[in-house]
């Protein structure tokens, strides 16, 4: 069996499962946030009764992140609903806005807090829940009804997916980031190329990646329609976890005779800085073919491109220079934000580098990645043309339907922010 099949079989109490089979699995963690938490709780109460209790408070993780720094009254009310539910149900893992515990973007916060664990089953009311698959767990997004069902029962049905394996062989060029690799794959297979399937990443290129880069790969499987992304856990995974959690877990490795839907290999010569043009993550081209594309906004942030290593990469290019277009940077979490101050390149902190180069730095949250209320930091309110480290460039995704979004790696976004047009970062490294 593949890693995904083995995890699902174990959680269904079966010795073996086959792709296509519908099974009921036990859930290890349910993740929700401020947008989908409140309607999930409403369905939970409607279905299980007003006095119903969640199946296991230890297994519910609530991380508000979407509409945080806004004056929108409905958005604020959502956070209130989370608070009421948390206190009524006595839920220990709540990262409240304004509290010392506040974190920011849930998919980056979840591993930081040690909830992304090898061999486990994680469901979240957010499509990028797939991110945690970087830790060798089955992690996927669901809707509110499914989440309410889990809250009451601790179980959910899933169809066992076929696995598409992507092997990245050899050394990744220094100017190529995980974001370029996943954009390349999505461009090759299309935005529904992995529909209903697992995307598994392996090979020496992936083994050499740190956890944050691996998370960028699994984060965007949903943009190819994938059900989950997964990477076999290894020493890099265990080293990350040892620093962050005491929780126990049982890693799962692939069987030698595992069967795949397909196996695709990429070698280093095929890897280039890539850009997804408006309005689809699958509409990709190498950055160098899009030189001269004029931009008036750059954005660095989100669960895809707002981790500390993403900012480090951007800062390497920006340092000692100046941006020529409005550049918004939003650390994914409070930990990333603190990291910007404590991490240095030569004598300057990353924070200073962003400030000195003319970038605006926003508070940790999803911010303009999904548009959000009109007063959201960095939101595209008009016909802006933006290059962004985020994951989606659907019409109106970052705000106005008139705006256009190009998706790229932190290197490419930083280099483009300097020139005001799409720029291959190779020239700046």
């Amino acid at each position: 069996m593949t890693i995904t099949e083995k995890i699902l079989a174990k959680h269904a109490g079966k010795i073996k499962v086959e792709p296509g089979e519908n099974i009921w699995v036990d859930v290890d963690i349910l993740l929700t946030h401020d947008v989908c938490g409140p309607p999930t709780f409403a369905i939970f109460k409607q279905q299980f009764g007003i006095d119903a209790k969640v199946w296991d408070p230890e297994k519910v993780v609530i991380i508000p992140d979407h509409y945080i720094f806004t004056s929108d009254p409905c958005a604020k009310r959502n956070v209130e609903i989370l608070r009421d539910f948390v206190s009524e149900q006595n839920l220990p893992h709540f990262y409240d806005v304004g509290a010392e515990m506040y974190k920011g973007v849930c998919h980056v916060a979840l591993p930081e807090e040690g909830f992304a664990l090898p061999g486990q089953v994680l469901f979240g009311t957010d499509s990028h829940t797939s991110t945690a698959g970087a830790f060798g767990e089955f992690a996927t997004g669901i809707g509110n009804t499914d989440a309410a069902f889990i809250l009451g029962t601790g179980k959910l049905w899933v169809k066992v997916p076929e696995t598409m394996k992507f092997i990245i062989d050899g050394e990744i060029p220094s100017y190529v980031m995980a974001k370029d690799i996943i954009l390349k794959i999505i461009g090759d297979i299309g935005v529904d190329g992995a529909a209903y399937r697992t995307m598994e990443f392996a090979g020496s290129g992936v083994e050499a990646m740190d956890m944050e880069s691996r998370m960028t790969l699994t984060n965007m499987v949903i943009e190819a329609g994938g059900k989950n992304g997964i990477i076999e856990p290894d020493e890099t995974t265990f080293a990350y976890l040892t620093k962050r959690t005491q929780r126990s877990y049982e890693p799962v490795t692939e069987d030698k005779n595992a069967r795949f839907h397909s196996v695709t290999r990429y070698t280093s010569e095929q890897l280039l800085p890539m850009v997804a043009k408006p309005h689809s993550p699958g509409n990709t081209a190498p950055a160098r073919e899009l030189r001269k594309t004029k931009l008036n906004r750059a954005y660095i942030g989100s669960c895809t491109g707002g981790k500390l290593s993403d900012f480090y990469a951007a800062a390497r290019i920006l340092k000692g220079r100046e941006v020529t277009i409005a550049t918004y940077t939003v650390p994914a979490t409070t930990e990333v934000s603190a990291g910007l101050k404590s991490t240095r390149i030569d004598e300057q902190s990353l924070w200073e580098i962003f400030e000195n180069t003319g970038c605006k730095i926003g508070p940790p949250s999803c911010a303009a990645c999904l548009g959000g209320p009109a007063d959201t930091f960095g939101r595209l309110n008009q016909a802006e043309v933006c290059i962004s480290t985020t994951n989606r460039n659907f019409p109106g995704r970052m705000g106005s339907k008139q705006s256009q979004v190009y998706l790229a790696s932190p290197y490419t976004v930083a280099a483009s922010a300097l020139t005001g047009q799409i720029t291959d970062p190779e020239d700046y490294l």
């Binding site: 519908n22 947008v35 989908c36 409140p38 309607p39 409403a42 369905i43 409607q46 279905q47 299980f48 509409y67 929108d72 409905c74 958005a75 009310r77 959502n78 979240g124 009311t125 957010d126 499509s127 829940t129 997004g141 669901i142 809707g143 509110n144 009804t145 499914d146 069902f149 009451g152 029962t153 049905w157 935005v191 529904d192 529909a195 209903y196 949903i222 329609g225 059900k227 689809s280 999904l370 548009g371 959000g372 209320p373 009109a374 989606r392 659907f394 019409p395 109106g396 995704r397 339907k401």
Partner: protein
Amino acid sequence: MSSIIKGKAFVLGDDIDTDQIIPAEYLVYRPDDAEESKNYGRYALSGVPSAKSGLPAGNIPFVAEDGCESDYRIIVAGKNFGCGSSREHAPFALQKAGVQAVVATSYARIFYRNVIDGGFLTPFESKMDISIRIKTGDVVEIDFNQFKLFNRTTQEEYSLIPLGEVAAIVQAGGLFEYARINKMV
């Protein structure tokens, strides 16, 4: 559930994502509040670029200005309908607008799951891409038993793919109803 759905079709293209079905800025309304939840009907499909709204002509609003319900009962679309975010507000918005069925060549999986487990409407898959053969405003009829779609305006007929294993959940009316019938909750 009646075995026939009849109504005017609203036609869309490929890869209609959930931000187009219900833009993120409207997700703040409470779905469980009768008055507030009308907004989901009001803004359903408001994120679709105008030129692609109501094909083949385009520039047709799905919901009339100031309205909360649409004249169109059936959505006909191409591949990968509902891609993008996991927001269950998307099928909910279509339901609030009065949509009873979607016919697409394929669906993104979270949307498909949400439609079925939430019991919002019925998602059919067509054997061929009929979004290029049906015009917005055509009166169409879907027969659940025969898995056929009839275009009453042009008198054409198309085959739909049977629902398969999820039919039991669709027939029950959603995941909770299904689980109750099967004594799981």
